[in-house]
Symmetry: C2
Subunit: 148 residues, 2 copies
């Protein structure tokens, strides 16, 4: 049902007064249908064929537009570039320490952690970020094979 996500997203954008340009349509569609967490550059390269004149700035600009509309989240890690994630349900990410693969998983929200943090620090809590790190099945298998 990726078509549903895309249509909903376009409606959301229109309602907040954002114009649907061909570039925006393509970026959103790529984010949804690629089922990945691409970098800005990956998006840029993937759309190069259809939009030979598109500028990298357009990708960045529109990713920010989407973030402001709540459609997209930016994922930032150490050295590498940011990755962008089309927001559907609330989910968390598990990331392979070896190959960098990012996989979604679902878990009920961590409200009690937020409450504790609020209580201890006096902050008004808005949100949280959680990521789990480990070794994906593929990399685990590869290690197994090459083990002496």
């Amino acid at each position: 049902m990726p078509g549903v996500f895309l249509k909903d997203a376009l409606v959301t954008l229109k309602e907040s007064g954002v114009r649907i340009t061909p570039q925006r349509h393509a970026i959103l569609e790529y984010l949804i249908t690629s089922h990945s967490h691409p970098t800005a550059d990956e998006i840029y390269k993937a759309l190069e064929e259809d939009f030979p004149n598109m500028s990298v700035a357009t990708v960045y600009n529109n990713l920010r537009v989407f973030q402001n509309s709540g459609l997209v989240k930016e994922l930032t890690y150490g050295d590498a570039s940011s990755r962008f994630d089309f927001v559907t349900h609330d989910h968390y990410h598990i990331i392979c320490d070896d190959c960098g693969k990012i996989v979604d998983f679902y878990h009920p929200g961590l409200e009690e952690v937020e409450h504790l943090a609020a209580h201890v620090t006096g902050f008004q809590v808005n949100s949280h970020r959680l990521e789990v790190y480990g070794t994906c099945p593929d990399c685990a298998a590869a290690k197994q094979t090459q083990a002496k």
Copy 2:
């Protein structure tokens, strides 16, 4: 007891065959005693007085050395530069959305989240990262004051 942390850290380094240079000593000491989460550049500037000839590369190099020894963790956020945190107990961070202040808080580890993630995704889990975001008391007060 910051002296304890520093001495332990130096022992750890020595045991893993890392030389204790004056620069390394100073960087570690600053990380521990500043009670902050400084960027590489902040460390560089803070030590400028004592080490007028120190290169930024030295700061980065040694922060990496410390990370490899498990003494320091890198905290990466969106646009800004990485921040570095001397590892003492296991703790989490709460970050002010308005002023960027980072405050530590303690919470029992989230093993059950790790277990669920491992189960659902088939990963071998190594670690996780959790951050809470919100508004710190200072910024909340400031907003209150300027409210109409």
